[in-house]
Symmetry: C2
Amino acid sequence: MSRLLMNISAVERETGVLKDTLRMWERRYGFPQPERDDGGERGYPLDQVEKIRLIKRLMSKGWRPGKLMSLPDEELAALSQPLAMAEAEGDQSALQSGVLDQLRKHDAGGLRDLLRHDLHSLGLQQFVLDKVPMLNRAVGEAWERGEIQVFEEHLYTELMQATLRQAIGALPPASGRPRLLLTTVPEEQHVLGLLMIEALMTLEGATCISLGTQTPLADICRAAEAQQADIVALSFSAAFPPRQAGPLIGQLRGRLPEAIELWVGGAGVARHTPLAGVRLMNTLQDAREALAVWRDGRAAQ
Amino acid sequence: MSRLLMNISAVERETGVLKDTLRMWERRYGFPQPERDDGGERGYPLDQVEKIRLIKRLMSKGWRPGKLMSLPDEELAALSQPLAMAEAEGDQSALQSGVLDQLRKHDAGGLRDLLRHDLHSLGLQQFVLDKVPMLNRAVGEAWERGEIQVFEEHLYTELMQATLRQAIGALPPASGRPRLLLTTVPEEQHVLGLLMIEALMTLEGATCISLGTQTPLADICRAAEAQQADIVALSFSAAFPPRQAGPLIGQLRGRLPEAIELWVGGAGVARHTPLAGVRLMNTLQDAREALAVWRDGRAAQ
DNA sequence: TCAAGTATTTGTCCAGGACAAATCTATGAG
DNA sequence: CTCATAGATTTGTCCTGGACAAATACTTGA
């Protein structure tokens, strides 16, 4: 049986590294070093694909690619190990150890029960304002430290999503003002931020219309008008390419009627430079305040 | 104020047409014909981006790009109009007219109520087996005819997702065999197929662990082992590039332990050529039968 | 110690060529 | 006339190798 080789598209799919970048790495750093088929096309062995994923993870921790790719495999592996120090600073880890433990034990049922229990004991508002952000951060950091795998993060997201949707669905349907249109831009596929804001705003009596993730800009504008939205709210995760966020938001602001407010939030735009006509939120608490401001402004008219 | 121009990445994001393909169209057909900035980089005006989207939609109806791009704008616009004939053959449209009507009226609340009503009057099983596929098809066909916009399809998907998740969450948690791992491959972001199968299988007492959409192949394998899955089930929508499905499934089959069954279904693999060791499902009913077969086989041991 | 200027690193773009898979078209057999 | 097969055309994706701007690291002087 022949060894499995992946073509460049498959590697882009698996790792999230663009084709152009894969070729550039090969040209500059000599890694990856794929085989070639009869037609001269690249075929990547599985171990190289694994190493690409490892490098990408380390890059998200701040390491630079040139540095990483000049390192021998052993040192790379050493970097990927969670540091003793990182463990030590995990003072807060006790707070959500249950969740990470269940994740590592692959106990989906237990994790689901745990999330539901937290939700019911805290109430939806406090769960969303305090617990969920803390858990998201804990899972994200564990992933960066290499303690959990991609599929474990998927499982967490899926179960949290089910929990939040269950809670939102149980709320009495709101029909009051403002009307918020919720979505993310293309390439941003993380949905938890949307669900958190939907839960909070619905609790406050605002009407939320969610389009889910990855709506083209033109369609966000069309939807905002068709739905007579007062506010368009976008969520950006920490994984969103930071350079793209600014221009994208500016472009949307330019295409949206001025009367419609644009709110953006999430780790991907936290501490971002302010933009004219855009309300930037660093925390979920900001969203509640912005809602109060909107209602004040409207009452004053 | 200067006219808005989009760079080639933004156009790929907006339209789903790869950069390489955009350049090739320009080279071969003279369309699109973007402007250039100082550095010689392409900047696409919005009306060309709209036309690209229109062309993509017509291509999904079977038109070929070379043909379309040689056509003057008027003829292109004419093709995009729903034909009188198409309207006439919509005999079944009366059956779900409510849903499409609500969508076109942008009545999110009404649509949500309608879906919930259908769910409760039919029961979850019949809703998933009959109603949801019919609605999905109706919405998909309406989109192909240009009758509904991308954001309207997003809204439908989001509301249907909320309805299904609500129903699944209300079921008693199953813990029986088999254990199914549900997910989609990278690039396949449609989630409704997963939720439908999750609902059906949970009703039958099987344990479903969903990873949500777009899990890398390597992680599907890891998750299957970690979760001690008996079956891995993948969903492919009609939008999935048909040429990619076969190799992808074959590769996963090769990397998965033989003892774990691989089920694939959805419009993206319907009428696909059979693959060794892979159970191909054309309908949801097939999944129920496959479940019965699995249980028979297991009882016989 | 910090700020400003310079050098390096890095990702994404470009042109233009090649080829294989998919699709269409023409030809010939039954 | 229907159908299958062979050949031509269309189409998407890959290739090389070059360029440049933004982000980051480093150096220098206050």
